[in-house]
């Protein structure tokens, strides 16, 4: 039992970091921001589920998926379909030519609810689908690709194509999916109005709670055999394979887990923002989600949360005041993170410790220096 707790909470360092994140999310932000801004933060935090998944999948296992928007979208659409059906009861939609179906179906001359929408009348099914559907898609894709030892760049390109396929597919089937406008006008969850301030507060804290739980789960997972296996596979895949492990199974698991987390994020996004559209699913949002994880530090669960908050806050600040500058900044961020800060915000602290502090020491004490020798292989290791 003690072992379990220590694996979940990690060492002193992790405990302090966890405390800091919990303090920031549960106390500092709610007390210092009005509900409009807090709702925005809540929206950003739903992306950090995707970033947390990417830390496990990309940072630890070394598999870069450019299609996490697909899973975010699938989760979001599952939730939105339930909410839309609840908002389209026959009384509220009695002016339609076919009452009881979502408004965009009526506009597209559909006469009955399509069969795949019917199960989404039930909340338990919808909630299950939020997790199961993305994982299932990830399982199929993962089985097909990892079993054939496809990885790296090819995997990234295929997943990017998936993001394009899903966004085009949703876009092209307006009658069944709401098309380009997405699913909008979501009102209540089992009669509870999600648009009120009170509901937004509740949803914000639910999101925070789930994020903190996810971080703890991630720490538990990564501190055990799974974490070691993932890192070993990332660094020397052939050796892991020669040791008799099924590499693909671990990769598939990581991919499914990341997909499920993204799905949860999507569902929470829909609950807080009140709509979902294909523009949140496509190539651009999917690759932006990667930068959230990269800015925070692709190896750090806490970094994922900070990275998401930083990039999104920067995005809304800049695109409000200097819209022309934002793309330059975003582009520069991609390049800088890759070239200068491969370990993101979380890595800057460590880099300071390793490089700057010994450097400062060098300025003060002129003596036999061991640090430059140690620093050289470290930088070489980063480049290769």
């Amino acid at each position: 039992m003690n072992k379990l707790i220590s694996r979940i909470l990690g060492g002193k360092n992790e405990l302090a970091q966890f405390g800091a994140v919990a303090l920031l999310l549960l106390l500092v932000l709610p007390l210092s921001l009005d509900i409009f801004r807090l709702n925005l933060v809540g929206k950003y935090l739903t992306y950090s589920f995707v970033a947390l998944g990417l830390v496990i999948l990309w940072g630890k296992a070394g598999v870069l998926s450019l299609g996490q928007g697909v899973f975010f979208g699938l989760g979001g659409y599952c939730m939105a379909m339930f909410l839309k059906l609840e908002a389209s009861d026959p009384i509220a939609t009695k002016i339609q030519s076919t009452p009881g179906i979502p408004d965009f179906m009526d506009w597209n001359q559909l006469k009955a609810l399509p069969a795949f929408w019917v199960p989404f009348k039930h909340l338990p099914f919808s909630l299950m689908a939020v997790i199961v559907l993305p994982s299932l898609v990830a399982l199929i894709v993962g089985l097909a690709m990892f079993k054939r030892r496809v990885g790296g760049v090819y995997f990234a390109i295929i997943t990017q194509a998936m993001a394009l396929i899903l966004s085009l597919g949703i876009d092209g089937n307006q009658g069944y999916t709401g098309g380009r406008n997405g699913i909008t006008d979501l009102k209540t969850l089992l009669g509870w109005d999600i648009r009120t301030k009170h509901a937004q507060y509740v949803l914000y804290f639910v999101t925070c709670g789930l994020i903190l739980l996810t971080i703890l789960f991630g720490q538990w997972l990564l501190s055990g055999k799974m974490g070691k296996m993932l890192v070993a596979m990332r660094d020397r895949e052939d050796r892991v394979r020669f040791s008799g492990y099924d590499v693909s199974a671990f990769k598939i698991f990581a991919f499914c887990l990341a997909a499920a987390l993204a799905g949860v994020g999507g569902a929470l996004f829909v609950l807080q923002v009140g709509f979902i559209s294909p523009s949140l699913v496509g190539i651009v949002p999917s690759i932006e989600m990667v930068i959230f994880a990269a800015v925070g530090g692709k190896n750090s669960l806490y970094g994922a949360v900070y990275g998401t908050l930083l990039v999104n806050t920067g995005k809304s600040l800049f695109s409000e005041t200097f819209p022309q500058l934002w793309l330059f900044l975003m582009g520069g961020l991609f390049i800088a993170v890759v070239v200068l800060f491969p370990n993101g915000v979380a890595g800057i602290g460590e880099m300071l410790k390793k490089k700057v502090l010994p450097g400062l020491g060098k300025l003060q004490t002129v003596g036999p220096m061991v640090t430059p020798k140690m620093a050289t292989p470290a930088t070489k290791g980063e480049e290769s």
Binding site: L64, L66, V141, A144, M145, R148, V150, G152, V153, Y154, A156, I157, I158, Q160, A161, M162, L164, I165, L168, G169, D171, G172, N173, I283, I287, V290, I291, A294, Q324, L327, F328, M330, G331, G332, L333, F334, I335, V337, V338, V339, P342, E383, S384
Partner: protein
């Protein structure tokens, strides 16, 4: 279809076939540069589309200059503009290789992110310099209009021009890669970098040259596209996934594979778009490609090099 006469059906068939061929040349033109950069060097250049857009903007710039200052050259400028587009894109490619790509050769996933960042920067630069609206260069008269071999068949000249240029460029790339000395060095470097270095090939220089060449070809592709459509800041990013799929689907290291996959995808897409509405045709083709790639990840014509 029964109310069409036989000759009308024949005309539809010809024109559908031509539109498929037209799409084929567009896809091939886009993919040629990437077949070199990604297929040969393994560099994932997500800014490839922006190099095409750069070529297109250069043609637009040339057209503006010629029309305002040298009206006498109007009928001929387009040919020169293609050359300028090649040089400009190659030059920017050189700069990018020198300042960014060369540090990332061993980190393909990081290259992918960095070049995506580069593509954002380039897009915004286009927007700041040329404005957000799409631009079209004034084309010389000989590129306008269409052939009419019979009363019902209508074949646009610009389509034929793009097709001709594609053929020419494909042949040039093939001749360069398989018949020239530097092409030999390039292939040697791809197959075994250390051995190539050991026999005296300057592999770093070869890398730089190869990247430059790929970007230059992208510039030519962009220049050719100005004859069939307008150019906007985000024109390039619209094509990037298709371009990569063409190269991957063909088998990354094979030029023949790229040609074959561009042909297959183009014909598939034009048939699907005839039967399915709008974007769904494209979705069907993309799904098919992705499914095939999951079953056969090495593509249609896998290279013989072991990784």
């Amino acid at each position: 279809m029964s109310h069409y006469s036989a000759s009308e059906l024949w005309s539809i068939f010809i024109m559908q076939g031509f539109s498929g061929l037209s799409l084929f040349s567009v896809l091939l033109l886009m993919a040629l540069g990437l077949a070199i950069i990604f297929g040969q060097m393994g560099v994932v250049n997500l800014a490839h589309g922006e190099f095409m857009a750069l070529g297109a903007y250069i043609v637009y710039l040339c057209s503006e200059i010629v029309h305002n200052h040298l009206p006498a050259l109007v009928p001929y400028y387009f040919i020169i503009a293609i050359g300028v587009a090649f040089l400009a894109a190659a030059l920017v490619g050189l700069l990018v290789e020198w300042s960014l790509i060369r540090f990332l050769y061993k980190r393909p996933l990081d290259t992918l992110l960095a070049t995506w960042g580069l593509s954002l920067v380039m897009q915004q630069s286009f927007r700041s310099i040329f404005g957000a609206r799409e631009v079209t260069p004034t084309l010389p008269d000989w590129l306008m209009g269409s052939f009419k071999p019979t009363a019902t068949i209508d074949i646009p000249i610009n389509g034929v021009f793009v097709m001709g240029l594609t053929l020419l460029l494909t042949f040039a790339v093939w001749a360069f890669m398989y018949r020239s000395r530097i092409g030999l060095q390039m292939r040697a470097t791809v197959q075994n970098r250390n051995m190539s270095g050991a026999v005296g090939i300057n592999t770093k220089l070869v890398d730089r040259f190869t990247f430059c060449l790929g970007c230059g070809i992208a510039g030519v592709a962009g220049a050719a596209f100005t004859t069939i459509g307008s150019t906007g800041p985000d024109s390039g990013s619209r094509y990037i996934v298709d371009t990569f799929l063409v190269v991957v689907f063909g088998g990354a290291a094979s030029l023949l594979g790229t040609v074959a996959s561009a042909f297959g995808i183009a014909q598939g897409q034009s048939v699907c778009e005839f039967f399915l509405q709008g974007t769904m045709g494209k979705v069907a083709v993309l799904l098919l490609i992705v499914t095939v790639l999951m079953i056969r990840p090495q593509g249609l014509f896998p290279g013989k090099v072991r990784s």
